[in-house]
């Protein structure tokens, strides 16, 4: 199956997305390092979390300013700026973003391996079944990671909780495909050993 244009296009798109992900991860890391070196550069940049529009799910933002500070007349008019973001919060969110990028890269790599096996007519194999199961697990982890974000500032915090049914459908699809490929492998083996 070497002249399947759609399959070849999908493989190239996957490779392109992998490159974009690597560039994005390098960009985030560079920005993270730069923000550590030159803290004043982004100090006044305001951080505003936005809820993701979702057809099948909920997305909420909870913004909070510490009450003790408002009582002590230390009311901060701009509590959500980069300069006031706590270092621990910055580190946690950076590692979260990198973890999501790594997991998305692994998902794309698994898809690429599956598509290459389809191209070489080795579609139904235990390796592909395992890869689909892995994709399902990766999507579970990505969903958990992106469903909850907390940014803690010196005098306040912003929390975003996002629950959507869309990833659940993807997870189910990945596990169903894993089972289909496992069954396919059994049928292929049965066919190969029929003389």
């Amino acid at each position: 199956m070497t002249k399947n244009t759609l399959l070849n296009t999908a493989i190239w798109v996957t490779r392109l997305l992998k490159i974009i992900l690597v560039i994005a991860a390098i960009g985030i890391t560079s920005l993270f390092i730069y923000a550590q070196i030159d803290k004043d550069r982004f100090a006044d940049e305001e951080i505003v979390l936005k809820a993701n529009p979702s057809y099948l799910g909920v997305s909420t933002i909870i913004s909070d300013v510490w009450k003790e500070d408002t009582k002590n007349t230390k009311y901060d008019s701009k509590p959500y700026t980069f300069g006031k973001l706590k270092t621990v919060s910055l580190y946690i969110n950076y590692f979260k973003a990198i973890s999501v990028a790594v997991l998305l890269f692994l998902i794309l790599r698994a898809f690429e391996t599956i598509m290459l096996s389809v191209k070489t007519l080795h579609t139904f194999s235990s390796r592909n079944a395992k890869l689909f199961r892995k994709i399902g697990i990766y999507i579970i982890v990505v969903t958990i990671l992106i469903s909850y974000t907390v940014l803690r500032f010196e005098s306040g915090s912003q929390t975003i909780a996002h629950l959507s049914l869309t990833p659940v459908i993807y997870i189910l699809l990945a596990f169903i495909l894993a089972e289909i490929f496992k069954e396919g492998e059994y049928l292929r083996e049965e066919n190969d050993l029929t003389i």
Binding site: E189, E190, L193, I195
Partner: protein, 68 residues
């Protein structure tokens, strides 16, 4: 598997080699080897018919049921 393939025995009786039979039946020597070693999961009626024709025997001469 309790089904035993006695192809080696019949081949020896007929004085025929595996590759000769494979050629007569129209299957590869690799597939004939799978059949002889008992790794095969199924045999097509067309293959069985061709083997019986080539070896001038009955299916019961090739296949035998032996309890485990």
């Amino acid at each position: 598997m309790p089904i035993v393939v006695n192809l080696d025995l019949i081949l020896a009786k007929r004085g025929m080699k595996s590759n000769e039979l494979a050629e007569l039946v129209g299957i590869t020597t690799a597939n004939l080897s799978i059949l002889k070693t008992g790794k095969a999961k199924a045999i097509r009626f067309s293959t069985l018919e061709a083997i019986c024709k080539a070896l001038d025997c009955q299916p019961s001469d090739i296949l035998e049921y032996v309890e485990d």
